[in-house]
């Protein structure tokens, strides 16, 4: 049979090895893991700034928080006989955000306690990633703030580039009299405060990267920061002596960290664009109100948690009309 030998055999698919599933049959390459690790990368500039200004202590807090969040998540998974989930990166983000929301000089056990509050109370009790109504890192921060007010409102003095462990305490700029701190220091991050919230420039770099990668909706930070600027601006016009300028408000405290990295948390903020505007505005107005009239100098955490609680309602009222929507005719029921 020389003829069959010279004819190249045509291979056909083996039907037994064909998969059958619903369309679509191709996917883009995005995954939860990729999203989470991009967020981690975007947090790095602010973390590095924190380490630069607050020394090795800041690095220790960040590492301890991250490790405890991951360990607690895995411990919980073991306890509840669930599959391991730390690889999705969400516990790492929670850990880094928690660390960024602490003073560099906090005792070690505060980091672990924060991890427990964030992962167990903030996330796992609701069913884990995707089901938590509140931002886990903020649940921990507010929990610590209420339980340990003294530790949580003491801040290290920045010692740029010295890498020393130094516990000289400073006030957060928001707690000082207006005009004491220069805007240049605020922009760079050379002020007292939580280790990850002080450097405006580093936070902006990370935030803009997240917007460029389309991982956060730009409407949230814009509405949030914009409304803080407007509300505190009006207050400043009315009484310039007793209030900070709007630029000062935008650059100080946890506003930039909150607006770019916490209020934009996908799980706990609205899904629609319209909802994102409402959410950002609500956060901004709440934050301004707490800062201007509340007993805390800082209002970002409370505001975001409050708006987290409203997210299901915002989602409900911001549903867009489908393409080709026809309003039901009244009296059509018959």
């Amino acid at each position: 049979m020389s003829e069959t030998e010279t004819t190249p055999t045509i291979l056909l698919p083996d039907p037994a090895r064909l998969m059958v599933s619903n369309s679509p049959h191709i996917r883009d390459r995005q995954s939860i893991k990729k999203i989470m690790f991009t967020v981690v990368a975007s947090l790095l500039p602010a973390c590095l700034a924190g380490i630069w200004f607050f020394g090795i202590a800041a690095l220790e807090v960040l590492l301890l928080c991250t490790v405890s969040c991951v360990a607690i998540e895995e411990g919980w998974n073991k306890l509840t006989k669930r599959a391991s989930t730390w690889q999705d990166g969400s516990a790492i983000i929670t850990g880094i955000l928690l660390g960024m929301n602490l003073n560099a000089g906090v005792p070690w056990w505060v980091c672990i306690l924060g991890g427990v509050l964030a992962i167990i109370l903030g996330k796992q009790l609701y069913g884990g990633l995707g089901y938590n109504p509140f931002n886990p890192a903020l649940v921990a921060r507010v929990g610590l703030l209420i339980g340990l007010p003294e530790i949580m409102t003491t801040w290290n003095t920045p010692q740029a580039g010295k890498m020393v462990v130094d516990a000289v305490t400073a006030a957060t700029p928001l707690g000082m009299a207006p005009g004491t701190e220069t805007l240049g220091n605020l922009f760079a991050g050379n002020v007292g405060g939580c280790l990850g919230e002080t450097s405006a420039i580093a936070l902006l770099i990370g935030g803009v990267a997240l917007i460029a990668f389309k991982l956060i909706k730009w409407q949230v930070p814009l509405a949030y920061i914009g409304s803080v600027f407007v509300v505190t601006g009006i207050a400043h016009l009315i009484s310039p002596e007793t209030t900070h300028s709007p630029v000062f408000h935008v650059l100080s405290g946890g506003l930039l960290l909150g607006a770019f990295f916490m209020a934009t948390d996908m799980v706990t903020s609205p899904m629609t664009i319209k909802g994102s505007w409402i959410f950002g505005l609500g956060c901004g107005i709440m934050t301004s109100a707490i800062r201007l009239w509340g007993s805390y100098p800082e209002g970002v955490s409370f505001s975001i948690l409050f708006m987290n609680a409203l997210t299901p309602l915002i989602d409900r009222i911001s549903i867009s009309k489908p393409f080709g929507y026809v309003a039901p005719v009244k009296g059509d029921a018959k």
């Binding site: 998969m19 369309s23 049959h25 999203i35 999705d88 995707g130 996908m266 706990t268 393409f323 080709g324």
Partner: protein, 442 residues
Amino acid sequence: MSDKPRKFKGGVHPNDSKALSATKPIQVAPLLDKYKVIMHQNIGAPPELLVKKGDLVKKGDLLAKAGGFVSVPLHAPTSGTVSAIDKCPGPTGIGVPAIEITADGEDAWGAALEPMADWPNRAPADLKQRVWDAGIVGMGGAGFPAHVKLSPPEGKKIDTLILNGAECEPYLTADHRLMLEQAEEVVLGAAILARILGLDTAVIGVEDNKPDAIARLKEVAGKYNVTVQGLPVNYPQGAEKQLIYAITGREVPVGKLPMDVHCVVQNVASAVAVAEAVIKGWPSIERITTVTGKPVVNPGNWRLRIGTPISKALELAGGITMQPSKLLLGGPMMGIAQKSLDVTVMKNTSGILLIASDEVSLYTSEPCIRCGRCVEVCPMSILPATISQAVENKRFDWAEELNVMACIECGSCSYVCPSHRPLNQHFKRGKIEIQAQLRKKK
């Protein structure tokens, strides 16, 4: 019409992978020994069988007649003997009735339909009857009888005829090659369809990634007062509602048809089938199909008779270099996965696509992280994430309230979901359950 097309909201941009076959001219498939013609190739009622085992048929003879108004006749793809009437694997995996024709090799036409070269003088009703007699369906994928779309009920005025040459599905190039190589027939088909509808113009919508086809169509379009509209490349640009919006700015209301906004949309391949049916008297017994995919040795575009087994089509393309993970009829976004090579080409088989294992992975569905990507890309502006949760929790009333019925199953949401949730599958299920409940109420 000449102004810029409107952009619909949403959409995705998958890698189009069209380069594999876009430059391959249409080849005519050689005659096979056997064809297995699936009986029910159209949406609507199945046709009624007219032949029995042992009958001799000529090419183009009726095998089955329309089984109602929303039904089309079925014709013999070649001359020969009806050697079996039994079941063959259907595109949905269930065995379906099919007529096996053993070819006599003569490929001789029977009593064909009379050519109507003088079509501009024929009554629109006669031309429409010809479209029906030739068994023409929507060849873009839906398989909806073409004559039904050409029969708007009393009081529904049609003012725009659109030919769909968007071909927005990745990989598929059959319509592209058709528009390039048979531009005159496309335009002629448009003119005939326009005459049936009492119009004197038509628009052909083509995605801008086919500039050669657009240029070629423009060269010949003027003859019949047909315009060619380039469209932004954005999947699902070729979905009927999105196409109508792009060209006319009209939104087809949820649950309504194009004719409710005075439009009729026909696929370009259907238009060519209409031209051939009218001018040459050919019934719908063949079509251009793209046989492609990374595992295919020689991807290309072939003129295949209906009833051609997929295995034979793959042989024409030289077979495979590696075992694919999936075999699809249609494109990768909306095509149907097959598990048999014995399924045969139908009037709406636009593509036979093999997907390599590196393009499909076995995903585990993870929890929704509410990222909102699905909301952003949904061309119907519904909330895929929420609807999918409603269906998962069997809250079909809630899914209905969230307008699941508006879903066009384009798959854009599933395509972008970072949690790899089977969103499209949930919507299909939701729609089926809601329709079942409606039937129960009646």
